[in-house]
Symmetry: C2
Subunit: 298 residues, 2 copies
Amino acid sequence: MPHLNEKTVAFLGLGLISGSLAGALRASGWRGELLGWGPRQPSLERGKALGLIDRYSLDLESVVAEADMIVVGAPPQATVELLPEVIALARSSGEPIVTDLASIKSVIVDAVQPAYNKFVPGHPIAGSEHSGVDASVSTLFAGREVILTPTAESDTDAVQSVQAVWELTGARVTLMPADDHDAALAASSHVPHMMAYALTAMLGDHALAPMKHGGGALRDMTRIAASDPVMWRDIALTNREAILEAMDAVAVEHERLRRLIAEADGDAMQQLFDRCRVIRRAHDDVLNPLLKRSESES
Amino acid sequence: MPHLNEKTVAFLGLGLISGSLAGALRASGWRGELLGWGPRQPSLERGKALGLIDRYSLDLESVVAEADMIVVGAPPQATVELLPEVIALARSSGEPIVTDLASIKSVIVDAVQPAYNKFVPGHPIAGSEHSGVDASVSTLFAGREVILTPTAESDTDAVQSVQAVWELTGARVTLMPADDHDAALAASSHVPHMMAYALTAMLGDHALAPMKHGGGALRDMTRIAASDPVMWRDIALTNREAILEAMDAVAVEHERLRRLIAEADGDAMQQLFDRCRVIRRAHDDVLNPLLKRSESES
């Protein structure tokens, strides 16, 4: 059994997140081989040119057979479709550890039936409105959270290995049930994206072209509306129930605030805004884990 | 008539925006005196200690009498209340130019009756979730837009002087009617703030405490929920109609997107997300006027 950082890791699909993970492992002094496989040869070629992977193959079976650990780095729907094939190949070769990066977890867990005890579902809470392997940044995970959602069947050693790999990138790892992950992330990430889309669509249709007059507030409130459309379509499709629930919860707050404004209830507004300031400031550290950004515009 | 940068400028109220303007004028090599007046002596004392103003007084009448240009730097409601008194004093002294910094403009214009032709309503589209004179940054306006909303009565020389002052800070100046300003800003700034409040309130009440799991998306989507509660109460109260209209427009988009998700209409979602990406990217330059920020997390 090789030491962790001597293992061969295969990335199935090379994009922003998987490319950044490969880069972070490189930066940590990883000694094992980093392999690539994917549907798009140019991304793999680029990943090799950038030094993120050592080599790549277009033959899935041989890549799975060589790997000690497999990272499925595909959009959610593609991950759901690819996983059964990967795990069938894994069962019939050396039983490598398999993990994934998808932003939703319940459908991923459901896709692996019967359970494969070396499968450790994962989700790094890091990303960008940019996509593709060229947007990879080896420091993407530093200070960020990675959530793993092992099931009752998950092998403890496999979970610990995946956790150890993520900790090499500077991330902190949290374990939780897949359902809790999906409900929490619907509220903390998926619905904020839907809100950015709703805001951007409204502004795009507005007669006065208000986006021209945007400052730092609008920069921040619409940044993620430029995120990868396919990935966010997949997330919306695969975490539907939890997203709808959180969208309704935010619509209730929107309507409540609308009523305070319509009624010109300044005291209740100030109370609400005060409370929001307290909530936000209590999370400054988790939301800005590394740098004091010059957040000086709004 | 002194050259522009030899004029005496008085700041009525010293906070983030007025302090940053004073700092930017200093940095531009302003030669005239910069005076302060305000209800809170500690802010004035601090502004002097920071080198933003040369001296201050607690006597409004004498400050107005000394000034060639007066900048009212108060929250919207306080600006509405203070302006009539300031303009009465201005009429009875040397008729200095008066401008303001409030984020809403129609109620400001309405507050100055009868019209004073040396009054030039203004709004720099720059700010921060931090407040107070200590948060002042002399580069706050660099590359940002400043909107002036002169009326039919406004003196051309006065408008040009205020425009020239703002251009010294690195801002670009746009002129438009106050009503258009209020409608555009409701959509581009005020409603985004209301959305950040609605999202933060929803998250604060959520059983799973999802904000703990927030990444860069949530950081950006809630940053402005920590903004000054009094200022945002005032903006909501004084630009009520335009804000309600834009809130309703965004609620329509929210509901439309909710329906696409409920119906699992992936094609329509992807089309919408694609369109939003195009809209956002078309405004990258105006929203990020200066620096290529490392917007690498979400």
